[in-house]
């Protein structure tokens, strides 16, 4: 069941490529605009590059969130799922995984390619990749929470940044802490451990809140 869902999401993304290509284009544009505005100061540009990549991923991922549950809620899939005997939590986690796979992973790969192209040194590049791998699932999890909470809201595109960007701060701080430490050739284990802890914590609580929120949304629609 869940495997079919994943296959279906990937197939949908492959057919409807503008839904993941547009955020990707947005991310590259954000990086381009910032980098061009720093052309007169190459040292600053090199310094801020990892932070800029992280921030541009956070911003681009916001664009993908309104559609995360909206289509399934609109065509009644979520209502049917809630009424079925299957528990909702695995569905939410699968949706989060698909969101990460289809929307966030391309952003990470593109960001790493950009970093490589702009000449980030190898150890920093590896740390950047590691923080992406462990940190961006948190972005998807919190994003799913935000998307489910704003499902019934008007103008969810305007609401999501206000709700989510403050919650993204911890992962951003520790990811950039790890990158900074690796630039100074210091140990990064501590930062990585905290990111993993954040990942475990959000995978329990954010998915739980998203589940409760979706369920209550269905309950009020039908009753």
């Amino acid at each position: 069941m869940l495997k079919t869902l994943i296959q279906q999401e990937v197939l949908l993304a492959a057919r409807n490529y503008s839904q993941w290509l547009t955020p990707l284009g947005f991310m590259v544009l954000v990086i381009m605009v910032c980098m061009i505005s720093f052309t007169n100061n190459a040292a600053v540009a090199a310094d801020i590059l990892p932070a800029l990549l992280w921030v541009s991923i956070l911003l681009a991922s916001l664009l993908t969130l309104p559609s995360l549950f909206a289509n399934d809620a609109e065509d009644g899939f979520i209502s049917h799922y809630v009424l079925s005997p299957y528990p909702l939590l695995p569905l939410v986690i699968t949706k989060v995984f698909c969101h990460w796979l289809v929307h966030v992973l391309p952003l990470c790969i593109a960001a790493i390619l950009v970093a490589f192209g702009l000449g980030l040194i190898k150890t920093t590049l590896l740390t950047l990749g590691l923080t992406f791998l462990l940190g961006t699932p948190i972005v998807s999890l919190l994003g799913a929470m935000g998307a489910s909470l704003t499902l019934a809201a008007r103008q969810s595109t305007l609401l999501l940044p206000i709700l989510l960007l403050p919650l993204y701060l911890p992962v951003l701080i520790f990811a950039l802490g790890a990158i900074h430490a690796s630039e100074l050739h210091l140990a990064i284990h501590g930062y990585i451990a905290i990111i993993v802890a954040l990942l475990l914590f959000t995978s329990v609580f954010a998915s739980l809140i998203a589940t409760i929120s979706l369920k209550s949304g269905v309950a009020t629609c039908s009753g």
């Binding site: 909470l149 704003t150 809201a153 206000i162």
Partner: protein, 234 residues
């Protein structure tokens, strides 16, 4: 529990009780605030290091503590909404948010004005300051979410869930000065032996109680107004 739910926490009973308590709360709050302002600004001695500049503490500390206390109260209300399905709890939650956002704003502004002469900067990305700013955005997010959802039950539940999710920030704010030793000083009064002279402490505690009374007063007025509005609409 059922009795409490039906009698003490029902809307008509709350309205009757609160209108009866209102004059008492107003008088006590006014006395506390007047004593706090006079005691803090005129009677308390100047600080040996900061001179008269320290007197902003009488606004800064109460509003910062209130900002956190109100959020904790909102998380409690959120449990009331989600678990006990109390109608009054969601009313208290959103109206507390609308008041709490101003206390948070006041704490940030007074702190920033205090920071310039004492630290040499209005703002620094210190752990305490950053987590307070996150609290401000949590308040704004809760209010924005509440105003964006039209359907009542979905709105109340979504707002309660968001308030609960944001509650994780409160212990981070409280322990930020312990975990990260950055610019903001540690706790002065919320510990067993306060590191502040009693002539300075008494007005501070009065201001704190006064701010708490002010919050209760504003909350009761807001909730009462909204309950009346609901009655006239129904």
């Amino acid at each position: 529990m059922q009795w409490i739910k039906q009698h003490l926490l029902s809307a008509p009973h709350f309205y009757r009780l609160s209108t009866r308590l209102l004059p008492w709360i107003s008088v006590i709050t006014a006395i506390l605030l007047i004593y706090g302002v006079i005691g803090g600004l005129f009677i308390a001695p100047a600080d040996y290091q900061q001179g008269d500049g320290f007197r902003i503490i009488y606004v800064h500390v109460p509003s910062a503590l209130l900002a956190m206390a109100i959020y904790s109260f909102m998380a409690l209300c959120a449990v009331g909404v989600l678990v006990l399905r109390l109608k009054l709890a969601s009313l208290a939650l959103i109206n507390s948010a609308r008041i709490g956002v101003w206390f948070t704003f006041l704490a940030l502004i007074t702190g920033s004005l205090w920071g310039k002469p004492m630290w040499g900067t209005y703002w620094i990305w210190d752990a305490r300051l950053t987590s307070m700013l996150v609290l401000l955005f949590l308040y704004i997010g809760i209010i924005a979410l509440n105003d964006a959802i039209a359907e009542r039950i979905t709105r109340e539940k979504s707002v309660a869930l968001l308030a609960l999710a944001g509650f994780i920030n409160i212990p981070i704010i409280h322990y930020s000065v312990v975990w990260w030793s950055t610019l903001h000083q540690g706790s002065t009064i919320t510990k067993l032996h306060p590191s502040i002279a009693s002539s300075m402490l008494a007005p501070l505690l009065a201001m704190l109680a006064g701010f708490l009374g002010l919050f209760a007063l504003l909350l009761i007025l807001r909730m009462g107004a909204e309950l009346q509005q609901q009655v006239t609409h129904d």
